[in-house]
Amino acid sequence: MVNSTIILREQHHLQIKTVLDKLRMDATARIAFLVDKAGQPLAVNGDIGDLDTTSLASLAAGNVAATDGMAKLIGEREFPTLSHEGEHESLYICVIGRALLVVVFDERSSLGLVKLRVKQASRDLATVLDTIAREMLENKDAETAFFDEITDDDIDSLFN
């Protein structure tokens, strides 16, 4: 497949969660989560409650894809950040390579503070994402060995 598979190991997931946790605390945000540009949620941290993070991830990716399309039409490569401010709740989205950092915050924080804290977190997350990409490349066969064990019967059993 053209867009390589993302394989997230537990230690990387933990590293990402740690960065998200720190960001959430420093920015006084409700939720911080990392989404892949195709809309898959990679890691979530915060007071999720009954928030549908799967849908939010998909819509955030669609939002970024649409604004990227607009950016290209006016001669920009991309719009690296997006913000949506509501009466009580707000969203800030930052593009980090092939991932998106999404921060949900309310009146206890401010857009300025979130932007400031996201800058540092973005650098930390970029480092983890680079490591993931490098390790996937180096250990490609080992990473996907699990799939060799999947049989036709395993796949068929999903549909019975």
């Binding site: 997230l8 190991r9 999947i150």
Partner: protein, 194 residues
Amino acid sequence: MTFINYASREINCKIVYYGPGLCGKTTNLQHVYDSTATGAKGKLISLATETDRTLFFDFLPLELGSVRGFKTRFHLYTVPGQVFYDASRKLILKGVDGVVFVADSQEERMDANIESLYNLEENLKDHGYDLLKLPYVLQLNKRDLPTALPVADLIGELNRKDEPVHEAIAAKGTGVFDTLKSVAKQVLTELRKS
């Protein structure tokens, strides 16, 4: 682009329903949503116009079950079928793992089917994909309508690579799950091969 999360032991895949305007892409998702147990599905998100035409996409997350201890989650998307929404269609193909082409069986929609299929191939190419190498299923929808062309004629015009073909009446649910199973199976098989 498949996402495998070892921490939560999940495999996530993206399937896109493509096809001309009013062919029944959203109806496919609506039927899957209506027929799936609450615990196995998320919300059906529809970004639609005031007249219920798809404006950007519909989205339905679905959990099929476990393979070797990994939950398999499929994110189903539709594209807007109307010709002038091409920029949006292209965006939604980003990271796709499998495609369902929903063809409208009516004779008067054959040109729209051919145009949409050509558009799919072009938009996939722009993302670096080749339809011939991608998990792909052809669904012949609206088989109950009086002006539906014979299956052989539709296959003759629309078949690209001996892909699985499913007859459907999405409004009644006929063939909807057969189509989904067919593409999901190909996606998982491809994952194993890759």
